[in-house]
């Protein structure tokens, strides 16, 4: 009879050996998933699949949940840059952004240059929404701003335009060639989504510096890193190849997915 019989003692010994083996299996074996390897490309293809499936399942104008005043229980938690140290930004802030202009350019029929008061004179939308950070936390706040679709209507994107790129005033990082300013991008479906606004107001007041004054993006079906703050220019493009490191945003250039809906 060759049956594997096991005493309690043998069992506990082998369990202890097996358990410690698992603990020792340190995971730096998988640290070679660097940014541009072929394994990384395969893994990243899942993000493209997620993007396509979300777009296929979703009504173009499907709204993110909107909340009530009672759900605003705290100030909007700031993240990333919260007080830009850039001289040009500080000069604009000192003058309450009276000299700031939002430039709209790239693949458009009619480039625009809009002041804050011009933006505030346009039809506005106010929404109480949940901000979901890529780190995992959420915070509910009330946002007021101009629907991005109205700006696009005025600027008239050319048929070749595919994406909207937001260029920002804050320096987020340094590299050998100098300071890197934050930037990000979305597709035209999200750009024309009814809840996609360029917000100048928050929780009933003007947008605070830590939350992106004078103007930040709200794209309510994506994560926080897809909603740039301190916006100075909107550029319509057909490709990201010539912007930054070519991945469509500062965080995207640093290994984050371009589609931030998950």
């Amino acid at each position: 009879m060759s049956r594997f019989e096991l005493s309690r003692r043998t069992f506990l010994t082998s369990a202890a050996v097996g358990g410690s083996g698992l603990l020792l299996a340190s995971c730096n074996v998988f640290d070679s998933l660097d940014r541009d390897g072929s394994v990384r490309d395969v893994l990243e293809s899942a993000n493209n699949l997620t993007y396509r499936v979300h777009r296929a399942l979703s009504n173009r104008d499907a709204l993110a949940e909107e909340f009530t005043e009672a759900d605003i229980r705290q100030p909007q938690r700031p993240n990333g840059t919260t007080d830009p140290d850039d001289e040009d930004y500080k000069a604009l802030a000192a003058n309450n952004f009276a000299d700031w202009r939002l430039e709209v350019g790239g693949l458009v029929e009619k480039p625009l240059s809009l002041s804050l008061s011009q933006l505030q004179a346009m039809p506005s939308r106010t929404q109480i929404t949940r901000h979901d950070c890529v780190e995992g936390w959420s915070c509910i706040a009330k946002w007021t701003g101009v629907p991005l679709g109205l700006i696009l209507d005025d600027a008239k994107p050319k048929p070749s335009a595919q994406y909207v790129v937001f260029h920002c005033m804050d320096t987020i990082d340094q590299d050998l060639s100098g300071s890197i300013k934050y930037y990000g991008s979305i597709d035209l479906i999200d750009a024309r989504h009814p809840q996609s606004i360029l917000a100048y107001g928050m929780n009933g007041r003007s947008l605070p510096v830590e939350n992106g004054a004078p103007l930040r993006v709200r794209v309510e079906r994506q994560l926080g890193y897809k909603m740039p703050k301190y916006v100075r220019k909107i550029e319509l493009v057909d490709s990201f190849a010539n912007i930054g490191m070519g991945h469509g945003g500062y965080w995207e250039d640093n290994g984050y997915e371009w589609y931030g809906g998950i």
């Binding site: 009879m1 060759s2 049956r3 594997f4 096991l6 309690r8 069992f11 082998s14 369990a15 097996g18 603990l23 299996a25 340190s26 995971c27 730096n28 998988f30 640290d31 998933l33 990384r40 395969v42 893994l43 990243e44 899942a46 993000n47 997620t50 979300h54 399942l57 979703s58 009504n59 499907a62 709204l63 993110a64 949940e65 909340f67 759900d71 229980r73 705290q74 100030p75 938690r77 949940r130 979901d132 950070c133 890529v134 780190e135 995992g136 936390w137 959420s138 915070c139 509910i140 309510e220 079906r221 994506q222 994560l223 965080w251 640093n254 290994g255 984050y256 997915e257 809906g261 998950i262």
Partner: protein, 295 residues
Amino acid sequence: MVDTAPGNRPASNDVATSIDKPPIIYRQFLWTRITHWIWAVAIFFLLLSGLQIFNAHPTLYIGKQSGFDFSNEVLAIGSEDTASGPVGYTRILGERFNTTGVLGVSVLDDTPTPRGFPPWATIPSYQDLGTGRVVHFFFAWVLVITLLGWLFGSVINGHLRRDLAPRAIDMRALPGDILNHLKFRFHHTREYNTLQKLAYGGVLFVVMPLIILTGLTMSPSMDSIVPFIADLFGGRQTARTIHFCMMLLLVFFFIVHMLMILAAGPINELRSIITGWYRIDAPSEPIETKEAETR
């Protein structure tokens, strides 16, 4: 979906017997074995990349949002500088435990460093949320597609109905089965015992759906596609907490699963999930023989 192994379908009449050894039977479909191992790999990567993602904000809450100016925290892993160096702590429902070295503070290159889960528990070992997410979402797709394929195949090939669905007789056998497990008394039969059916069924039909649905709830885009899903789980942050708790249940299942394999006979158990063939207990000797001997 068609099984290519001998006998085509596992059934207790596919028995290879010899004089001195208990019979070996074909127990596990090829499809069951393939999906089992794909899950094993996917869950390994999902767990370790998930802990990497968790480390970006190692606090869990109940509700729609995270309380920064109010408290709805249920678990927090953090660190604190003290006179004697950084101290790692874990706070569960307000109760604080010192977990230096494992949770909150890890020793990296001889230096105590603030960190949620330690480097050996995350992919990559260093802090890299972007890579953790890329790995996590790739294997999330692998897991979900494999689960759907398994479900489809197991309805067709009868694995679900015949092997997993608990019957009345299983429930009647439950107390005796619990006792057998406690006494490390394992019977090797073609059928799963009651606790196995409940454990496998619980993982596949309760824990898996919950961990997938709460994972989807964390996606702001999915929340717009299925507007009631966040409310169903009590808000996005509650969904994140449930996702974490389901992970703990899966880790618990994995540990028990490994212990049971060791206890029941690792060679035989591993053979059945690799090759499909399983040695069952010899039929108990006929009573007449015993009587004949005593006479």
